[in-house]
Structures are given as C-alpha cells and as structure tokens.
Amino acid sequence: MNVQDRRRLLGPPNARPVAFSKVLEEPTEISNVSSNDKALPYMKMGLLTNCNGSSYIESGDDNLMLITSVYGPKPIRGSFTSKAVLTVHLENSIATANNSDGSTDDGKNFNTSDDYKDLSFFLKNIFDSVVQLDKYPKSGIDIFVKVVNTDSANTSNIPKLLQMCCNGILLGLVDANMEISDLVGIGIISHECCVSFIKNGLEMCGFWKMKDEDEQDIEEIVGKCKENYLENKYLISSYLNGD
C-alpha cells in the first residue's frame, strides 16, 4: 500500500465483486467474400465523438484497419505563430493485442516505433502542403492515426500503409471541416514506392521509395503511381459524394 494511502476508506469487508454471467452468443459466420482481384475499401467518417473529426478505413483486400482522429485547432503556447502547427502521429495499437488463443505476441511482427516516426513525418509533410494552415493562427492541429489491425504481411508493405493513412487523414480532415486545398492522394506500386499527388496528378507533394535502384526510370514509376492515385481519388470522391 502506498505510504500516503493510510486510513484509506475501503468498502465493506463482506463485499463481493460483481460477476456477470457469460454471454452466450452464436459466433457469427463471416462469409468469405470471394477474393476478387480488388475489393473496395470500407470507409466511415465521424465515429469518434470526443475529437473534432475522425474516420475509419478498412482496406478491402487485406486486413488493414485504421482509425484517424483529428483534434484542434487548439491553442498552442510559446512564441507567436501566424500559421497552425500540424502534427501527425502514426501509432500501432495492436502491439499487445490478444491472438485468438489468448497469447500476446508483443508486437514482434510489427515495425519499430522509429519506422513509424518516419512515416508520420512523411504524412505530415504531405498535409502541410494541403491544409490551409494560415487560416488557423496561433493554433495546433493534431492528427492521430491508429493501426487497429493488420496482417503481418502488410507491415512490410509501407506504400500501401501510407496510402491508407493518407486516405484516413483526408477523411478525418473533411469530417472536421478543416479547410484543405485539395483531395490529396497517394498512388502506389505495391512494396516498392508511393508518390503523393494533388490537382489531379498535375503536382507531386511527396515521394517514398523502398529500395534505391539507379536503373529504374523515375518517370515510369511516377506514371504508374499516378494511375493508381487517380483510381484511389475516384474512390474517395465517390465516397464523399455519396455520403
């Protein structure tokens, strides 16, 4: 017992902890959707109530699930800033998640927090160029992305992760009614690289490559990513229009 906890008022000595009867629930059958070459991601905005805007994304073809929350604009202390300060935090919240057999895998399969810092920084740079920061003086905008579920195979697919994060943050910002200049998006070549675009692919605002190989043609890579970006943007805008 804590030293400062002397004479603490405790409950009655004959108290018994509350016990709940086990809930008997039929395990719901999850019908395996016939794996098309491309399943559509599931998106939802405004799930969380204590933040200003939020989104939930489940990528269609693997088990990647993300929750994004957007806080702010809120006051920051310190010296005067005429623009908002944007922060992006990418977190893996399943490091100690229970497996089906009850054991925990202590995050063995997942990237270290250092990797996530790099990814956070990359995402921050993208959204710095899109969010209308000068409309929010003296304030901070905080964005948190939580990886809720992922296949271990996914974690090595950083381009895919970045693409989904970008979509999630974008929907979170739209939900928060934060002013953004465009629907920014990331186009990817799986496991290889990703490029972020604005203005229907006319401008690039981010480039991430997994391996550095000289002989690759950058223009070809960007072209491939742009195609993927346009597909992705169509998904996002059709979701936003249908919502």
């Binding site: 604009p73 905080d142 739209v174 928060a176 200049s181 629907l183």
Partner: protein
C-alpha cells in the same frame, strides 16, 4: 441577380467553383466579382496553357453566393479578366461612389462572397427581421472559429493587476464550440493525451484555471474604456471570475490576444458579488452592479445589457 445554376452546387475540397470575374449571360455590362469566403480559397488554374485565378472549395458542402451590398463602378470598361489590376483604383473610388452609381459607366460590378457550407441554401435562410450579428442560429459548419481581429468574444477573468486583466477566451460570439472544445473548453473536453501540440505545452498542474486548453487574452488598463483612459483602476472594473464581453484588438503575442472593452456594449456581463461568494449581480449603470437580495453594490465596467 446572379444565376447560381451556372456554378456547381455541391463541391468537395479542391473542386473548381468559379473564376474571380464573370460576365452575366443576359447583360454583358454586368460583371460579377467573386471573393473567397469561408470554405473557399483562390488558386491558379491552367486552361490552354494560360494561368487564371480561380476560386476553389476547401470544404465539402454546398456553394452559396452572398451579395455584398456595396456596388462598385468601373468606368474603364476593360475586359473583365483584366479588372484585377484596377482593383486598387476601384477601392479608392469606392468611397466616393458608394451612394450614387454613376450613370455614364460602362460596366456594373456586383460583388459576391462565395461560401461553402454544410447546409443547403434553403436551410441557411435567416430571419430577415434580425439585424446583422443578431442571428440566433449559430453556424456550425466551420472549424475555423478562432478569435480574429474585430470579433466579439466572451471571456473569464483569471487574474487582475494594476496594469491589466488576464482573461481566458471561452467562445467567439455567434460561433460554435468545436466538438473537442478547442476554444472554450468547459472541463469536459478530452485532450489528446498521447501527444500532439496540446500535450507538449499543457499540464493540468500548470493550468491557471479549470477551463483547460483555452486561448488567453489580456485587457490592458488603457483599453478598458474610451474616456479617461489613463485613470482606469482595474480593480474597479473587473474581478477574477467575471464573465466579460470583449472585442479582439489584435492577435497579440504568443501568449495573449489583446482585447478591449472600450464600447458601451462591451464589459462585464456576469459577475458574482463578494468575490464570487455572493449572488449574481445586475448592472444598474455602466460602472455599478447590484446584488438583488443583499443589496451589495460593487464596481465593474459593465456591458450595456440591451
């Protein structure tokens, strides 16, 4: 009248709304000039390898055009796209020509503010009997409810000294509170504890009050009232805990907004007698408040209640 069906009704961020200037379909002498309001911004757009300035949406929602009552005349009669250079000239003329539009002018410029908001047009209709700034409906659409110059804000006095009164800004008048209570945290707002700009700078132990994360402001003694400004005694104007209606003078420094109460309608709106221990008081003149049952009189710089 502007034919808004020529422009998109529903937009997403990044969508094109309109050029900065446009000509009326029926009457070529009418030029529409569009100004960015909340939810829109100006950007450059390339059409046929020529750059044009256009308005794009920055929010998801419906486009509204609100006419600015001032009509502006341009006697040069140049092409509408080239009007921009004349803008500064026009502004100078504006003052003289506000009242009576000149008859010999070639073109009539109609100014519109373009707004993107969540609500559809019909739902935005407001009571015409209410004057500007009196609308009882608060527009919940914008996250941008930060105090800016000229805004009326409600504040709580946290500390007073001989030179100034420190306050915390609760809310900008006629603006909503954010869901996460970025401005005007009422104690229930949840801060993002795992990090972010709030967590770096905000410690509950260092918070000056129970308000949480709020913008701070300062009312300097010379800004309390418009007359006899150098003989103001702060203790006769405010007490800690008072709710004060202020106007924002400037964004101030990193810590404080600079506020003023030098108007009849600005000053203390709610105050309790006896340093907060007593009852709610009512203003009987601009510098006295009275507690209704105990008859305690206290000095405040009161806001005109009506």
């Amino acid at each position: 009248m502007l034919d808004s069906s020529r422009y998109p009704e529903k937009v997403l961020p990044g969508d094109l709304i309109s050029p900065l200037y446009d000509i009326d379909n029926n009457n070529e002498k009418i030029v529409y000039s569009f100004h960015p309001g909340p939810g829109t911004t100006i950007t450059k757009y390339k059409i046929n390898s020529q750059e044009h300035k256009v308005l794009i949406a920055t929010l998801k929602g419906f486009v509204h055009f609100e006419e600015l009552v001032k009509t502006n005349i341009d006697s040069e009669g140049k092409e509408s796209e080239k009007k921009e250079e004349n803008d500064t000239e026009n502004k100078n003329k504006l003052a003289d020509e506000l009242e009576a539009p000149e008859v010999n002018s070639d073109r009539i410029i109609k100014k519109y503010t373009v707004i993107v908001s969540k609500e559809k047009k019909n739902e935005m209709m407001q009571d015409p009997n209410l004057q500007e700034g009196q609308q009882d409906e608060v527009n919940n659409d914008f996250a941008n409810n930060l105090p800016k110059e000229g805004d009326i804000v409600l504040c709580k006095v946290t500390r007073i000294s001989a030179q100034k009164a420190n306050v915390e800004i609760l809310v900008v008048e006629n603006n909503n509170c954010l869901k996460d209570s970025g401005v005007g945290t009422n104690g229930a707002g949840v801060s993002s504890v795992t990090g972010g700009s709030g967590a770096v700078t905000f410690f509950i132990s260092q918070a000056s009050s129970d308000l949480g994360e709020t913008f701070k402001g300062v009312i300097r003694s010379q800004d309390v009232r418009a007359t006899e400004r150098d003989s103001v005694k702060i203790t006769e104007c405010f007490k800690p805990g008072d709710i004060v209606r202020c106007k924002v003078l400037s964004l101030g420094d990193g810590n404080n907004y600079y506020l003023t109460t030098a108007k009849n309608y600005l000053g203390v709106v709610f105050a309790k007698s006896l340093g907060g221990a007593g009852e709610l008081m009512y203003a009987i003149d601009w510098k006295t408040m009275i507690a209704p049952t105990s008859q305690v009189l206290e000095q405040r710089k009161c806001a005109k209640p009506f």
